[in-house]
């Protein structure tokens, strides 16, 4: 019952706020504009201060000194950024001071009044409209001409905009990554990863062998998880040979590289292993198929199936089963 009362009270308050915002009562009325007064603000004061003039002269000369200093430092004293900045910045500030002192204390200080003049001129509007209409005097098929002109204009505007379509390729490339079955995982120096190299509690950045490392879908995060942290869906159990899992390094929220990995030293008093993206702190669980546990990411981190080759090296067991990186209209999301 009290909850209902509180809700009602809240609604009343909201309504009052809305009414207030709509300017109820006295505030809607404008304050009456100040009446025309007899006060004449015009004046002219000639400062004639020799001290101010001297000050301006001194400031100008000091500015000149700093300006020369800039050239000297640039040419002869190693062009140190800080000294250069002080020299030219100082020169400009001194010049500014000279101009301001001159503008406030040396030249005549005048307050003048100017009339704004009207903007709206009904007379002129009428005349202009008449002139426009006079220009169409004698034309009989106005409708036809205006319609034809409109069609021509629309066609030309469309034509002018069409070359924009050639600016870029179509969307087909968005579903592609360099990863496919058999491609070996290598580090950023091109050295391939042996499955036995992957330690529990460490994380590795992997790239596709013989492929452009700058491709968006290239980066992978590889970790090994012990059985008690590994809870992959049944369909994906084969993706994690020896408990080694691989995920796209590109955050499916806004495309940053995921570079934070937490692995507890003692799990009961801290947290389970997770990847976190440093941009907006989306957090993903590698042990649960990249599920999002915090943050704005709207879908889970795509997982790459892995296999261990007969040579002991890690290979991709297939491509990604969903699109990596940020979502868009046509993004392929994971089924699970």
């Amino acid at each position: 019952m009290s909850r209902l009362a509180r809700l009602l009270g809240f609604l009343v308050a909201v309504r009052a706020a809305a009414r207030a915002a709509m300017g109820a009562a006295a505030d809607r009325r404008e304050p009456r504009p100040a009446p025309e007064s007899d006060f004449d603000p015009r004046k002219r004061v000639v400062p004639s201060s020799r001290r101010a003039e001297a000050a301006v002269a001194v400031l100008l000369l000091l500015a000149a000194l700093f300006g020369v200093g800039f050239t000297v430092i640039y040419v002869g004293l190693g062009a140190d950024t800080q000294l250069l900045g002080v020299a030219i910045g100082g020169a400009l500030c001194l010049l500014a001071a000279a101009a301001i002192v001159a503008g406030k204390m040396v030249v005549p200080q005048e307050t003048a009044v100017e009339d704004r003049g009207p903007l709206l001129d009904e007379q002129q509007i009428e005349t202009v409209v008449e002139v426009i209409e006079a220009g169409a005097e004698g034309i009989s098929r106005r409708g036809l001409l205006i319609g034809a002109g409109g069609v021509a204009g629309a066609a030309l505007v469309t034509a002018a905009a069409t070359p924009l379509a050639s600016l870029g390729p179509t969307l087909s490339g968005l579903h592609l990554t360099p990863w496919a079955r058999g491609i070996r995982l290598v580090d950023d120096q091109g050295r391939p990863y042996l499955a036995q190299d992957i330690q529990i509690g460490a994380f590795y950045t992997a790239l596709p062998e013989h492929s452009d490392p700058e491709a968006f879908g290239a980066g992978l995060l590889v970790v090994r998880l012990p059985a008690n942290f590994l809870h992959l869906p049944a369909a994906r159990r084969a993706w994690a040979p020896e408990g080694i899992v691989a995920y796209s390094k590109v955050c499916p929220h806004a495309g940053c590289a995921i570079s934070l990995y937490r692995y507890p030293t003692y799990a009961p008093t801290s947290q389970q292993p997770a990847f976190t993206c440093p941009c907006h702190y989306s957090t993903f669980l590698p042990g649960e198929g990249g599920r999002v546990t915090f943050g704005p990411a709207g879908r889970s981190l795509p997982q790459l199936p892995l296999m261990v080759g007969s040579d002991g090296y890690l290979h991709a067991a297939g491509p990604f089963h969903e699109d990596i990186g940020p979502s868009w209209w046509g993004v392929h999301r994971s089924e699970s």
């Binding site: 706020a17 709509m22 300017g23 809607r28 404008e30 504009p33 100040a34 009446p35 007064s37 006060f39 603000p41 950024t81 250069l84 900045g85 002080v86 910045g89 020169a91 500030c93 500014a96 001071a97 000279a98 301001i100 503008g103 406030k104 030249v107 005048e110 307050t111 003048a112 009044v113 704004r116 003049g117 903007l119 924009l164 870029g168 179509t170 490339g173 592609l176 950045t205 700058e214 968006f216 290239a218 590109v250 806004a254 495309g255 940053c256 590289a257 570079s259 934070l260 993206c277 440093p278 907006h280 702190y281 915090f294 704005p296 709207g298 868009w328 209209w329 046509g330 993004v331 999301r333």
Partner: protein
Amino acid sequence: MNLIERHVHGRFERAGRTADERLGVMGGIKWAMRYVFPDHWSFLLGEIALYSFIVLVATGIYLTLYYVPSDSQVIYHGSYPLLQGEQMSEAYRSVLDLSTSVPAGLLFRQVHHWAADVFIAAIVLHLMRVFFTGAYRKPRDLNYFIGLTMLMLAILEGFAGYSLVDDLLSGMGLAIAYSVAMSIPLIGGQLATLIWGGPFPGSSTFWPRLEIVHVLLIPVALAVLITMHLAIIMRQHHSQFPGPGRRERNVVGTPMWPAYALRSIGLLLAVAGVLFLLGGLVQINPIWQWGPYHPYLSENGAQPDWYIGWLIGALRLMPNWELVIGGRTVIPNPFWGGAAFPLAVFGVLFAWPAVERRVTRDIRRHDLLDRPRDRPIRTAIGAAFLSWVVIVFAVGSTDRIFYRLGVSYTTQIHVWRVGIWVIPIVVFFLTRSVWRSLQQSGSHPLRAWQGEVVRRRPDGGVDVIAESPDRSEPERTEPPVGTVPGREFRV
């Protein structure tokens, strides 16, 4: 002295004749020199922005002479030891070389970047002045829209500018911009691949295009808009605060020549001076410390420049909602914070003059400004809206707050998800009540009440019935008995 004066006089006359014979401008020059500017200091904020723009163009021209818009990968063998042998794009290397090996190169780079930060800050401050004094009302609503457009362009321009460098920080930002473009419903994927020339990080044509946008397209657009902005001001004359002798139909202030021109030039020189001092003494965007960008790298605590801070706050704050219908992702998550939020903010700003006109039913022309206390509701709504945006902006730094003060990140996010709605409401009521009482007491927010209370006689003269207290007396904070609040007539 007399000889020099006569000589100078002769020179001026000859120069004037030369120009007038060819251009016929003497009438215009006379008009310009006698042109009256009202003197209030807050009218100079727009000029600070304008002069920052001039510094940006000047230093920007210098920078284009060194920048290489190319993502071809090269190996660095320059003078900075920590990047020896490192792979980077040519764009990054060109800026690195400029910063480490060209005399005064780093100075101009830093001045340019500081000028960009100050430019947009000045615009925002100017916008606040325009809003809280009601200067956007007819006939200045057109100019107000031009100003808002310039603000949007300036933000885009700044982002494009520091993204050209292709360092780790700005590269991460570009990926996020790409994701926001992708997130636009229906057309996002096409739009993003159109702009980038393919999936991120884009084709090699992206960099020259970004450079042209930053160096030509937006600066020209800004220059045109600035010219229109100034031309409209000149045509309409600047607005002014009410005061002695100031009416709706006149302008009271200082004529352009000589005092105002000198002060304006002084402000230009001061802006340039402060920016060059900052550029030399305070480091900004030390790209050699960030290293080059690669899509598989990132760092903790990466932030965009301050004027994009409201967007990172919004992106961090949003819960992970994505609208998926029938397997199609209609609204990906970055859309809310990265596109819908700024569109909403600018939408409200653009719509405001029409909303106010509708609510106050005031369609007259206004050339006298309001003091914020004359309009407590507008001031309160403006303060509330500003607080909403500012809080979202502040959320962008919650990581640093967690780091310094230990308040957990997830707690902060959960608190602020509610706070951004509650606090503006509180701010609205607070501001309204404060400004209402200021309006009634008539006092200046920072000073005691000042002025005279007069009554108009039937014959047109005035009787002074009360005066503000002498400074030596203890301060009075309310107008004397017998006056009607809100109806004092200032003399």
